[in-house]
């Protein structure tokens, strides 16, 4: 089934519809599928900002030149429309706020105050437990960047933690590279096994007794990362709003990295979110 020019709006209001079966692989259908799916966080940013070079804009210009795609269309396409509980008035209020004529809001990879939460399975003293690692992208004056661990969520370590100074180690070759998020932080496996270089992956400014305990157990070898099971992005950089993004793996045009939740939040709400949801100060 071919798409009509209204498809971007149509499927948002009329609901998702199943795509052709995979035996259309050889017929060129995959081009359309690739254009619609939000495949990486960078593509999410491009679409959010209405960047002309993002695949879906290029696809529509080439295949449906008579259709006038708008930024509102693209931002709406970034919501997980399979969720029936969306508050439409809240969504509209958000879009109006983002697109305010005098100073429209854009997001950038190097923004402060956004985080990646990696859902994990840890093995601690030979038993498996769920948990999360919270990471933040640090951006430096020479335009370089790296991810660093800023928080841990777990219920299997003693609550009090262990006081201790941040273990200084400055090996610039040991980093979680800035594109680690695109492969679900596979590099965390390497990092958490790098006993000698372990301090390089942790952010000093977020050091706490619980982090120190987690760090020590990793170093001793009684704790290890068994598996990662998904990444959630927490975007707190947009004034007045908090967004959560997740990856939706499904054979539908509305798929890939999409907005899974949206809430209004002032500065105090955001501080509370960091403490309670992300377990960071």
């Amino acid at each position: 089934m071919k798409y009509f020019p209204c498809v971007l709006i149509c499927f948002l209001f009329l609901g998702n519809f199943a795509w052709a079966q995979d035996d259309d692989w050889d017929s060129g259908w995959t081009r359309e599928k690739e254009a619609f799916v939000v495949k990486q966080y960078h593509e999410f940013i491009e679409r959010f900002n209405f960047d002309e070079k993002t695949p879906i804009v290029k696809f529509f210009k080439k295949n449906y030149p008579g259709y006038s795609l708008t930024r509102e269309d693209l931002i709406k396409s970034l919501f997980n429309i399979e969720d029936p509980d969306w508050d439409k008035s809240l969504q509209n209020s958000f879009i109006d706020d983002i697109m305010r004529g005098d100073n429209p809001v854009q997001i950038d990879f190097y923004d402060d105050n956004w985080f990646a939460e990696v859902k994990c399975i840890f093995e601690y003293k030979k038993k498996q437990y769920p948990g999360s690692v919270i990471l933040k992208l640090y951006h430096y004056e020479n335009n370089s960047s790296k991810w660093q661990v800023v928080g841990i969520q777990e219920d299997f370590l003693p609550k009090a933690g262990v006081e201790g100074p941040f273990p200084i180690s400055r090996d610039p070759t040991r980093i979680l590279n800035p594109m680690s998020h695109a492969v679900d932080f596979a590099s965390l496996y390497r990092a958490f096994r790098d006993v000698e270089g372990l301090p390089n992956y942790f952010a000093q400014e977020y050091w706490t007794p619980r982090m120190n305990l987690f760090f020590r157990e990793l170093r001793k070898g009684s704790l290890c990362l068994e598996a990662t099971t998904g990444v959630t992005y927490h975007l707190l950089q947009i004034d007045g709003w908090i967004l959560r993004l997740n990856y939706y793996s499904r054979n539908l045009p509305n798929s890939g990295i999409l907005i899974s939740s949206l809430e209004q939040a002032d500065v105090n709400d955001k501080a509370g979110y960091r403490r309670k949801q992300l377990n960071i100060k």
Binding site: E34, H42, S144, I175, N177, M179, V183, Y247
Partner: protein, 248 residues
Amino acid sequence: MLLGSILLALLLMASSCEGGESEDDAPPPPDPFNCAALCDDVVEAVCDVNGKVYINRCVAECAGAEVDDSKECLPCRFEMAEYHAQGLQKVRLLDEYIALILNKGVNTTSPDNTAVDQAVDEAVELFVNEESQVAVSGTRTNYYLVRDYLERIKNYSYGRVEIKWSEIGYLSGFKKGSDGNYYGTVTVTQKFSGYNPEGEVPIYEDVTRKNVNIVLKTYTISRDGEIDTECEVYLSDIGVVDSRRIEG
């Protein structure tokens, strides 16, 4: 007396050797247009407003360029698109090696383990190092070191395999890591078909979308007295974003 004169003469000669420099011996003043001499060779690429790349800000400003800090630029000889293309080429080459390994080296000049072992070694060379990891999806995604992954797939029993590519999914730009390398990600979608021992009927097919990290390693070299930068593309971690089995 004669000895004293000789000693005096020798002393005067030594003094003239150790003495202050004459104008003819003074080093020439630095050439203000020889920026490579005035600046250090630390690679922190900047671009000017016309997109021309300089190895660092000192060299750019020394040459009178107007630096544009809003541009992401690579300190490499070629444009970003060229390195994206090289990265994609290596991803496709990896898949060719994987197909060869899974086809057990059939249709090569030495259809035995030699060809397969060679394919494993050559595939590993595509990666930045042997600590690169490859994801395998199942009930849970597991990561294998690249050599372990390639050794593992040797044991798959297909008569033959086919790997077909979709069009390019998505290419992120390169981001500079604080280790000095540049990192990008390419999303590719492929259809895998594994056939029965006779090679006629597909017994397993899936469509998988993968994200492949690409690393641009930078090297400074001296060329005709000037510092220049070379860049080499390697593969790094590979993650599985989506995988769907095609039911027959």
